[in-house]
Assembly symmetry: C2
Homo-oligomer: 383 residues x 2
């Protein structure tokens, strides 16, 4: 029972929905971004888009975070009730602990209980945890089912739902098991953000700002002008911020789908420091975006002190992150512990420290062979 | 840390090693078949071949069946000791129960304990159980490590190690979770067969004979002439039988890597019946190849009665399977139970029974819409 080839493209998006295409040849897919008044009031929008994007199928398996079961989750299932598809719903407990070997084993069995076969499509509704877990289940159940991502956190909308990385954690480390598995569609409804706690929303903004620094100077300027409105979640600038972020990630992913050319590494701007912050602080203490904000500050400090960019870049980044309500420093940073973590990190090539560093707003380079004392100084500058 | 691109091809195979290439574009890989006196006496042969095939790497993780730890397993690790690679060995208990969600979770953690990263290569040493389990672990650890298959059963040499299917079972069914993940090399040393129990060896011959029926009439004739010598495991005809089988599977897989065109379905000749036999007999009662032999007989009976082929085809197949020591009938076959299983089987398109049926030795077709009473008659004919 082969999976049908991907349909050519989504045909007629509703007026309030814009579409970005992730250009991956025969694995190309649309990111549909919907916003505005009709959101929750027009549940049929999703179902028709969905059928256009996935092609011939008989069964939809909604895998959802319990936290959004009554909002985004019920909207999606409501919409699918207007379709001829058989519908199954699987609930996942909120939080990082669901990205475990135990939960994926249970999920595989639950999928089998729904009588899933290759004509089934998995729909992941939730934040990055659900997208990664359900995405990995889709990648591996009967060696691959179609997947649609419906992100409900800002981080998932601008980052984890796009690009095809799926996976789970091991007790010994995060995201150590997984697959590259591209979805057939990403469906972003900005209305889903209305229930997202403030701290989660702000955390997501760190990745948004990251795209401006790494490869889109115009977008960085747009954010400087509109950060207050975005923070208020005003529909139009929020939608633009999400769309520009997705376009940015889609460009990078199209260049380097499976991390073979090295281009995809630019997405790790600030992340080598951030992982060291998260790891030494203890996972869960800081939100990921908070650590990324601090990490971007450390990376920019490092770039300035290596003479790779003007201090003005650092100042503009500082101002924008601050305006977004993100932390800029971490007073408990332990320089030696952080460097020890970085030395174990995958981003270290043959024992030498390697960083993604900006030379101007809108451009970063992968820099190897960075002396440890310069790294230490950058950490100290953000303490 | 990207995985390096696949090396162009293996350069200089030793004199007693022949190489078949699986033509899969940038995922092409060699099947090296070694036999003859030097086998166990020349352990360095593997290591040099291995390094040619996988390219730049620092660490080898041998995942092995405990049953062959002192023979094939120790030969492989012995050979790698002549290389600069860091070496880890992980033991897997023999038998189908190791293809479980529990065992894969443990294996992922054991791989992490070896400090595996993207410069590590997984080497699966054992039968199809080890190849499927270790292959799935390779496909998913850090979203993909390189894999080398070292099959030690006849079935694994001629079937499971070639073609990129990897996976595990769920309590509710076999091979329900997995990935398509092509190895970088398959290393077949026919000397490893010397310890294989007779019943396992004969079971593997069913798949060998299958290739002759489905797409290689010359090979079928070769088998008719040489089956006694192959049964004695004489080196030259055994090696030829394995090489021709691998060539056959490699051709089919090259045409339809991920079961999208339908061509790969021809490998299921006899298997719709065989799965019904295995399932109604209770898994483990019959070996897979034994069920395949009976299933091929049922399929040929069906083809004859549908007027799709001469009775001579059935007679030649009967004679060859019998000469190989394989069962031709199953006296306990329950027609209704078997048809019920087939109706649930993935090979059923929209509720109609579909079979791979021969029209002459060397050619099969996918036939849909087969009436249930014809299927019942074919089962009864082999009872
Ligand atoms: N695959 C990738 O490329 C990629 C990229 C970045 C991060 N990630 C992964 O993403 C995960 C983090 O994602 P996340 O930040 O979305 O975390 P998350 O999924 O845990 O969601 C954060 C919290 O918000 C809740 N929530 C989700 N949507 C909500 C809504 N609309 N209203 C109210 N509450 C809501 C969740 O229940 C959870 O408590 C991590 O596991 C990380 O490894 C993956
Ligand atoms: N991936 C594929 O394309 C594919 C194709 C066909 C079958 N399979 C899978 O392969 C598995 C069956 O493979 P198998 O028949 O090799 O079973 P197996 O791996 O269980 O091996 C059979 C038995 O032989 C023992 N053994 C292995 N090598 C030996 C040796 N050299 N000497 C002595 N004993 C040895 C094993 O310990 C085991 O007890 C099934 O799980 C099936 O689903 C996969
Ligand atoms: Zn991030
Ligand atoms: Zn088989």
């Amino acid at each position: 029972m082969p999976i049908p080839p991907r349909p050519d493209s989504t045909s007629n998006p509703p007026a309030d929905t814009s579409v970005i295409t992730v250009e991956l040849g025969d694995r190309a897919y649309p990111i549909a971004i919907k916003s505005g008044e009709t959101g929750l009031a027009d549940p049929s929008g999703f179902a028709s888009h969905f059928l256009d994007a996935v092609g011939d199928c008989t069964h939809a398996i909604v895998v959802q975070d319990v936290a959004i079961a009554d909002s985004a989750g019920s909207m999606i299932t409501q919409s699918l009730k207007s379709s001829p598809l058989r519908l199954s719903v699987i609930q996942i407990a909120s939080g990082e602990t669901s990205k475990s070997t135990d939960r994926i084993a249970q999920l595989w069995n639950e999928m089998l209980d729904t009588a899933a076969d290759r004509r089934s499509v998995v729909i992941a509704v939730g934040g990055g945890v659900i997208g990664d877990l359900a995405g990995f289940a889709a990648a591996t159940f009967t060696r691959g089912l179609r997947l649609v991502q419906v992100p409900t956190t800002l981080l998932a909308m601008v980052d984890s739902s796009v690009g095809g990385k799926t996976g789970i954690n091991l007790p010994g480390g995060k995201n150590l098991v997984g697959s590259f598995w591209q979805p057939h569609m990403v469906w972003i409804d900005t209305d889903f953000l209305s229930t997202l706690p403030e701290r989660e929303y702000i955390s997501g903004l760190a990745e948004v700002i990251k795209y401006g620094v790494i490869e889109d100077a115009d977008f960085f300027e747009y954010l400087e002008a509109n950060i207050a409105a975005i923070l208020q979640r005003e529909p139009e600038p929020t939608r633009t911020a999400i769309a520009k972020s997705c376009e940015s990630k889609a460009r990078v992913v199209a260049d380097d789908e499976r991390e073979t050319t090295g281009r995809r590494a630019i997405l790790n701007y600030g992340h080598t420091f951030a992982h060291a912050v998260e790891s030494t602080a203890g996972y869960g203490v800081m939100l990921h975006g908070e650590a990324v904000s601090i990490g971007m500050q450390m990376a920019a400090e490092l770039s300035v002190s290596l003479g790779r960019c003007d201090r003005e870049l650092l100042e503009r980044q500082t101002a924008l992150l601050a305006a977004a309500g993100l932390p800029l420093t971490w007073e408990d940073a332990d320089v030696n512990d952080m460097i020890a973590v970085m030395a174990r990190d995958k981003k270290v090539a043959h024992g030498k420290l390697r960083f993604v560093l900006p030379d101007r707003i809108g451009n970063v380079e992968l820099v190897g062979d960075v002396p440890a004392d310069e790294v230490a100084a950058a950490i100290r500058a953000c303490r």
